[in-house]
């Protein structure tokens, strides 16, 4: 009798532990998905801002057509990559877009009348803000992916994680080639360079 009770208790404990562990993994996976959707929101906002920016700069520097074409092409590529929702592909395309947008802003630097224009200043602030948010959303996403990956790779979860469909998350690198580049400083003239 006692043995049966003990066996029942042990089985219940095992089931309970498994359920708690499973729910924790689901929670963590959902957190990474939510974090990714935040990144997605900011990427979309940036995609929406860029045509405005191109249009505004064009009014002052119509002859810089090479830069405009590069930005427009990079934006189209980034939107295509965004549809795939694959962090590696998105990171590559978005990095190219960041570079072309910054060269567009560098062009704008040469036109004082444009720089003084209110619409341009507001656009620039929005773009800076979006890139800031993107950076913070990226860090939060990567931190949640790290926690989630650690959880599914730890014992004993790793025995059951893969069969139950818990695939490891992919990090979102701001720049696949050179990390920790101070991208934001470049477009924020109000912000002094390091120091």
């Amino acid at each position: 009798m006692l043995a049966i009770v003990i066996v029942i208790i042990v089985v219940l404990l095992v089931v309970l532990t498994a359920a708690v562990g499973f729910n924790a993994l689901v929670r963590q996976r959902n957190r990474t998905r939510e974090a990714w959707s935040q990144i997605d929101v900011e990427l979309k906002r940036r995609h929406d801002l860029i045509p405005n920016l191109v249009h505004t700069v064009k009014g002052y520097a119509a002859h810089e057509s090479g830069t405009f074409q590069a930005v427009t092409a990079a934006r189209a590529a980034a939107i295509t990559a965004g549809a795939s929702a694959d962090p590696a592909a998105v990171a590559g395309a978005e990095h190219t877009l960041t570079r072309t947008v910054h060269s567009l802003l560098a062009v704008a630097e040469n036109y004082p009348a444009l720089r003084a224009q209110e619409g341009f200043l507001a656009l620039q602030e929005q773009l800076t803000a979006t890139e800031d948010k993107l950076e913070y959303a990226r860090r939060y996403y990567n931190a949640s992916v790290r926690d989630y990956n650690t959880a599914i790779e730890s014992f004993p979860a790793r025995l059951a994680a893969a069969p139950l469909g818990f695939q490891p998350g992919v990090f979102f690198q701001s720049d696949p080639s050179e990390r920790d580049a101070p991208v934001v400083d470049f477009i924020a003239p109000t912000r002094p360079l390091a120091g």
Binding site: A122, E125, D132, Y136, Y140, S144
Partner: protein, 312 residues
């Protein structure tokens, strides 16, 4: 970090319980006074109003706690004279708060501005979902984007760590105790006009005085302990962890160090929430014991150590 958050939640419960006990004691004392000196006919058992006093006080305590949860945040903001930040006037401020909240995975807190030339900032809120960050117009005028980011990261860390809940409870409860003491004073004058005995008046005045003393010498230090100097340093550290840039906060604290204007609209209760102590300004080592914040110089030195650690 999770441990810190759990400890803050526990301390909130502890301080609330202490306050309720104090309140019940006051209720019992008032009940005792009433039964001993007023309506009761001679010879009735002394102290039969004590349970009634306790019951009334308990009811008030429940109301006070519910009030804190419900509208404590709004009260603090009103007392400080804070207005909701206008997105057209303060785009940069709002963008930075949104970005930092994303980085911590927190809901974006409400952002308020106080018109005050003295630079300061504070955070309030029962939980991250119902929190607010407030900055003075002086801070906005003085800081550049990077410095503002450092200050806001510090404030968001207070929200994330539940420092704000702890402080909100302690501050509101102290406000309520002050209100209670004030009511006792008024009772004293009211009873005099009805021609009651001098002894009774004296007792009520003593009770009110005791309560005020309790606020000054017991609850005041509790506030300081509640968001102790260590918690400020912790918020500095986790703020830097969030924005990955110690330079911004270091340079912001340097500017605060150079500032001499005290902040008029913030009182004892809200002082502990600010990034820079608005009441005492960076005194010598003797006064340190009683400060809500470590000296700015020490905080800057600690951040500089972190900066060196990050760059190595």
């Amino acid at each position: 970090m999770y441990e810190q958050i759990a400890r803050n939640k526990r301390r909130t419960v502890l301080y609330t319980a202490l306050f309720v006990l104090l309140w019940l004691a006051v209720g019992a004392a008032v009940g005792d006074l009433v039964s001993a000196y007023s309506t009761a006919p001679q010879g009735s058992p002394a102290g039969h109003d004590v349970p009634a006093g306790i019951a009334v006080a308990a009811g008030l305590a429940v109301v006070a706690v519910l009030f804190t949860v419900q509208s404590g945040t709004g009260l603090v903001l009103r007392v400080a004279g804070a207005r909701l930040a206008d997105p057209r006037r303060y785009p940069q401020l709002l963008h930075l708060v949104e970005a930092l909240a994303l980085g911590d995975g927190l809901p974006t807190p409400a952002v308020y501005v106080v018109d005050d030339p003295s630079p300061n900032a504070f955070a309030v809120g029962v939980s991250p979902a119902h929190a607010a960050v407030t900055v003075t117009s002086g801070l906005l005028a003085m800081m550049d984007r990077e410095e503002l980011e450092g200050v806001l990261a510090h404030e968001l860390s207070h929200i994330k760590n539940y420092d704000t809940r702890l402080l909100l409870f302690v501050s509101t409860l102290i406000g309520m105790a002050g209100l209670l003491a004030g009511m006792l004073w008024r009772t004293a004058f009211f009873t005099r006009s009805r021609g009651r005995s001098g002894a009774q008046l004296t007792l009520i005045v003593i009770a009110a005085g005791t309560l005020l003393a309790l606020i000054g010498f017991v609850l005041g230090p509790i506030i300081r302990l509640a968001l102790s100097r260590r918690r400020e340093s912790l918020a500095d550290a986790s703020g830097v962890e969030l924005c990955r840039n110690p330079e911004g906060l270091i340079s912001a604290l340097r500017k605060l160090q150079a500032n001499d204007r005290p902040l008029a609209r913030l009182n004892q209760a809200t002082a502990a929430m600010c990034i820079d102590d608005p009441l005492r300004h960076h005194a010598g080592s003797l006064r340190r014991l009683f400060d809500t914040h470590p000296p700015l110089a020490d905080r800057i030195a600690a951040l500089e150590r972190m900066a060196r650690g990050l760059s190595v």
